[in-house]
């Protein structure tokens, strides 16, 4: 079709998901025009070091950039540009400067932004999502600085460990009863708490921050019980919101991220599936055949790569022929969720979806040294987490991929 050939494939979002989709399109044989529009000025980079080595200053900001492959050398990168809206009927996206950009196919890869406390803006408040965020925070994590972190998920705990290692005085405030308890369960969460506390991180669990003290910059935070904690720096790690505002009015199901089918095609509220619109990365809510047919958003590191490769392959097939498209879109899709976390000496590694579990069991080792913990749903292994024991963990990963065996206790 001429219209398809004339306009570029446009990927909105220039982070890992956008990059992997662009690479996958080229790998699958799409040789036409390809444009990636991204809000940040940086070329795609790897985010996990932001809360650890970048913050600690042991690696340079340049070192986190993803290497550029020869296959994507002719991709047009529009960096520092924000897309304001999309018109799926006219096949255009419009940037904030009012320019409409026609596309042949659209890839939604706009990811997440950190949720913020609904409190006044003050110097000293930080988040850790982008490279610029990390560099700004790094400048304030000085020895002796009083650092309060709100949120006790992975980011909060990793940043706590990094700040402590830099010699800061660190307090974590969280409404949860234990850190990282929702994804990991109480068994491991209690162990992580005790290891963090052993390194001198203070926890105020079961509490929220209700006010900020200080002018012109932050001096303290107020908790819901009236306590006031001195703070030079407040780091907000209370989860994320999806960057789907620009899709308002398109009819796409943006109730939690953007709904996609197993071929990563976008789905409308009325159930219509769009062969020319794809969703990848953190923002994609999609079914994973490894577990069931429930569409979920999965904020794990490997998901932008896996969904980007999938979308790139299906989209290239759609641009090619009906037969190729039918085969590609119908192929099963069952990416293995995987994530990692380093906090002090704790090297934690997870496969599958531990959060689905109705039963959690210690499978190997001992929690106070090295261990493997299994997460079961209806007697099937759906997730596994290792504290150390990296090689011993790999057979469990295989087991999850194969559907999890009936538990033998």
């Amino acid at each position: 079709m001429d219209a398809r050939a004339a306009a570029p494939v446009i990927i909105v979002g220039a982070a890992m998901g956008g990059l992997r989709t662009a690479e996958a399109l080229r790998r699958a044989g799409y040789a036409g025009p390809l444009t990636v529009i991204g809000e940040e000025l940086h070329a795609p980079y790897n985010r996990p070091p932001l809360s650890k080595d970048v913050l600690a200053g042991v690696v340079t900001r340049e070192s986190v950039a993803f290497p550029q492959r020869a296959s994507t050398a002719d991709v047009e990168w529009m960096l520092g540009a924000r897309v304001a809206s999309a018109d799926l009927s006219a096949r255009t996206v419009t940037t904030e400067d009012g320019v409409a950009h026609p596309y042949s196919a659209l890839v939604i890869a706009t990811g997440l932004r950190p949720r913020r406390l609904a409190l006044p803006e003050l110097p000293g408040r930080h988040t850790v999502r982008t490279l610029d965020d990390a560099m700004a925070l790094r400048a304030e994590l000085l020895p002796g600085a009083r650092v309060v972190i709100v949120g006790s998920g992975f980011i909060g705990c990793e940043v706590a460990a990094t700040a402590r290692k830099l010699g800061c005085d660190v307090t974590v405030v969280s409404p949860s009863a234990l850190p990282i308890v929702r994804p990991l369960g109480a068994l491991l969460a209690a162990e992580i708490l005790s290891r963090q506390e052993a390194h001198g991180v203070a926890f105020r669990l079961g509490h929220t921050i209700t006010g900020l003290v200080g002018a012109p910059r932050l001096e303290a935070v107020e908790l819901d019980d009236g306590d006031v904690i001195p703070a030079d720096v407040l780091i907000e790690a209370i989860g994320s919101d999806c960057n789907s505002d620009w899709l308002a009015g398109t009819g796409l199901d943006c109730s939690d991220g953007v709904l996609a089918d197993a071929a990563m095609r976008a789905v409308s509220v009325d159930g219509a599936v769009h062969d020319d619109v794809y969703v990848v990365g953190d923002i994609a809510r999609f079914p994973n055949a490894m577990f069931d047919d429930v569409a979920r958003r999965v904020e794990h590191w490997n998901i932008p790569t896996d969904t980007g490769k999938r979308a790139g392959a299906v989209l290239t097939a759609w641009l090619d022929s009906a037969e190729a498209f039918s085969a590609a879109a119908g192929a099963p899709f069952a990416p293995m969720p995987a994530f990692w976390s380093n906090q002090f000496e704790v090297a934690l590694q997870a496969y599958g979806l531990p959060g689905l579990a109705d039963d959690i069991r210690l499978l190997e080792g001992s929690l106070d040294t090295e261990a493997i913990v299994g997460y079961y749903r209806e007697e099937r292994l759906v997730g596994v987490v290792g504290l150390g024991m990296k090689a011993a963990l790999l057979p469990y990963r295989k087991l999850i991929a194969e559907g999890g065996v009936p538990a033998t206790g």
Binding site: R20, W340, A391
Partner: protein, 63 residues
């Protein structure tokens, strides 16, 4: 032939690469990564996938 480099100062021995290119990478009994520094061109796609999935981004193909 392709040449493979792993920055062992970055590598955390997570073993993701083992699944993508099992002929090239393995974790030994001490949880440490071992790999072949060169391989046939037929392994290129697998090694590229290993490059993609390494959380530390420690693997490179040297052309």
């Amino acid at each position: 032939m392709i040449k493979i480099e792993v920055d062992m100062a970055l590598c955390q021995h997570y073993g993701q690469c083992v699944f993508e290119a099992p002929n090239i990478f393995k974790l030994n009994d001490d949880d440490k990564l071992e790999y072949l520094a060169s391989a046939d061109d037929s392994e290129r796609d697998n090694v590229e996938s290993a490059v993609d999935v390494c959380p530390m981004q420690a693997i490179r193909i040297v052309d």
